[in-house]
């Protein structure tokens, strides 16, 4: 009997039924027993709507108890869930839901009109389960009650899918201008969650933060590690997550013991959160991932909160965490280099290769490639991109695109990217996707987007543009235009206008020259 995500919940329902499974920021909570019942009810309704094992179901909800119950409802049918970013433009989310042909989408009234409009544009019309508003589990419960009062759903059995069946699809930025869906199987997920169990030894008294949005791979650790162990998941809503003082208060009030977020958020917390005014001694682990943690902010955080264990977790969505590094108990004040990304996790294997795919000798730079149980089988409906994602001579190895060096002690150090993907606030951003968006603007003749290191933002995205009439476009208009097509974190920070963009001798955009421009 292979482990599945739905079995983690079933097992905690059996052993910890009366304990709090999920708590929202306002204190509203749900027990394991109630979460089991609510997700069973959604399972039955989804089956009544025709969902079968192997299907996909879209989840377009603000983060809430309803969302967690929806995820498990979907998993219990044997289908895979596809979470979309509720703050992203509806046109992007409709594309995603149509791209993987969801059988049903679960949403709430605030998103429904724009979603229906955009789905019509995709000529795609799946049944929608629409709750009045998500929150406390009440939105989902009421929506199910209403559907039951018309025709009650037949009671079904939870489907325990096979290890190689899909559990979820996470869409990330795609270089061709459209988001691409990373497929993750039950084994991909459970091998990672089981590794988390080993490293963090969770206990039922733990309270895990859920800071990352559910379409982001950090959410996998957040959701399933506590729910596997009968611990509590403390949801942090999107708006609070960006406001340091509110966030700090929530971390305190929720009694969080296991923290996980991007370094950007921790940097904001330490600069603006007034952490020193709060008793945060309940925090026992601080995990960060998604980008390099600027050492100055990390030191400041460590000085205020010296007691927890700190882990630098590294890995793309395609592998989830694949290397990890535990920081020393004392951080030397003279240290100015970022910490290593560490060693490969026990359920995986890693090699470092040169441009021809041959292993380099230790200490030389090369691309980190990973194989093992948590590695994705590929991208949804993109056979060519899937084929290119793995090492040609051994297709079990996923090519991370990250350049690393291996030190004498076996720890890897991150050295950069081999392509045009950057991380901004922990989000993957394909610069090509931003360029595709800019080219849709009627006044844009040429667009080239680059990323530059920035002390405050970590990474600053700069768009170089040449317009049709040679003039400027209003920044406000440009930002508003981009925000209709791209998530806000992908909207360029700076726009620079040119008569025409510099070219190489082969008439390609000269990115090297653009990188050097002031």
């Amino acid at each position: 009997m292979s482990p599945t995500l739905q079995r983690y919940l079933e097992s905690s329902v059996a052993s910890h039924g009366a304990r709090t499974a999920v708590r929202e920021a306002d204190g509203t909570s749900i027990t394991y027993a109630e979460l089991g019942i609510l997700s069973d009810r959604l399972r039955d309704r989804l089956v009544a709507l025709g969902v079968k094992p192997g299907d996909r179901v879209g989840i377009y909800l603000r983060k809430s108890i309803d969302t967690v119950a929806s995820i498990f409802g979907v998993l219990k049918t044997g289908a895979a869930y596809v979470p979309v970013d509720p703050s992203a433009p509806p046109v992007r989310n409709a594309y995603i839901l149509a791209n993987c042909a969801v059988k049903v989408a679960i949403t709430e009234r605030v998103f429904e009109p724009a979603l229906r409009h955009q789905l019509a544009g995709e000529k795609f019309d799946p049944p929608l389960i629409v709750m009045a508003a998500s929150g406390g589990g009440n939105g989902l419960r009421a929506a199910l009650d209403e559907m039951d009062s018309a025709v009650s759903a037949v009671r079904t059995e939870t489907v325990y899918t096979a290890a190689e069946d899909l559990a979820y699809i996470l869409y990330t930025s795609g270089s061709t201008g459209k988001p691409k869906g990373v497929m993750l199987t039950q084994r991909n997920a459970t091998s990672f969650v089981d590794w988390c169990s080993e490293i963090f030894s969770p206990v039922p008294g733990d309270v895990f933060s859920s800071h990352a949005p559910f379409h982001f791979d950090l959410s996998i650790l957040d959701i399933y590690t506590p729910l596997k162990h009968g611990a509590t998941l403390a949801l942090i809503p999107e708006d609070v997550g960006k406001e340091p003082q509110k966030l700090a208060k929530l971390v305190h009030d929720a009694g969080i013991t296991m923290w996980y977020s991007t370094p950007s958020i921790l940097s904001l917390l330490v600069q603006y959160g007034k952490l020193e005014e709060l008793d945060l001694s309940h925090i026992r682990v601080v995990n960060f991932a998604g980008e390099v943690f600027p050492i100055v902010h990390l030191k400041a955080l460590h000085a205020i909160l010296p007691a927890p264990r700190y882990f630098n977790l590294y890995g793309p969505t395609e592998t989830n965490v694949c290397t990890f590094y535990e920081l020393p108990r004392q951080i030397p004040t003279e240290r100015t280099d970022p910490f290593p990304i560490g060693k490969v996790c026990a359920h995986l294997e890693g090699i470092v290769v040169d441009e021809d795919g041959n292993e380099v000798t230790r200490g030389e730079k090369g691309e980190l490639c990973i194989r093992g149980e948590s590695v994705t089988p590929g991208y949804w409906n993109l056979p060519e991109q899937t084929a290119n994602a793995y090492l040609a001579r051994d297709s079990r190895y996923y090519r991370t695109g990250d350049i690393v060096t291996e030190a004498e002690d076996g720890n890897y150090t991150y050295a950069g990217r081999r392509d045009r993907m950057v991380k901004k606030r922990g989000y993957r951003v394909e610069l090509g996707e931003i360029e595709s968006c800019l080219y849709r603007h009627p006044d844009v003749r040429e667009a080239a987007v680059i990323a530059l290191p920035d002390e405050a933002l970590g990474m600053k995205v700069r768009a170089h543009l040449a317009t049709r009439d040679g003039g400027r476009i209003s920044l406000i208009q440009l930002k508003a235009f981009c925000s209709q097509h791209l998530p806000v974190y992908m909207v360029p920070d700076v726009f620079t206008f040119h008569a025409e963009l510099p070219k190489t001798s082969t008439e390609k955009t000269d990115y090297q020259t653009l990188m050097k421009m002031e």
Partner: protein, 84 residues
């Protein structure tokens, strides 16, 4: 300080800090700022810090959101309310 003076001060600051080179006429009272990314999370914090110092007011953590800061008009309202 009257409403118009607050409005003009805030507008000048936003243009200088976050929209360098922009035509001031493009920034209207109801231009969305947070939902378009003109004010990202860091810019919002900078703006709040500026408002607090410039106008000698205290903006509570729960007030630093798009309900109070998404447009020039809303920001002016917030400051004017606090100055009373």
């Amino acid at each position: 300080m009257d409403r118009q003076a607050i409005h003009d001060t805030v507008k000048t600051y936003i243009l200088e800090q976050f929209l360098p080179g922009e035509d001031p006429n493009e920034l209207t009272d109801d231009t969305p700022l947070m939902t378009t990314g003109i004010l990202d999370s860091l810019a919002t914090l900078k703006l709040v810090t500026y408002l607090e110092e410039k106008f000698d007011i205290a903006v509570e953590a729960h007030e630093a959101d798009s309900e109070n800061l998404n447009t020039l008009e809303l920001i002016t309202d917030l400051v004017a309310r606090k100055k009373k």
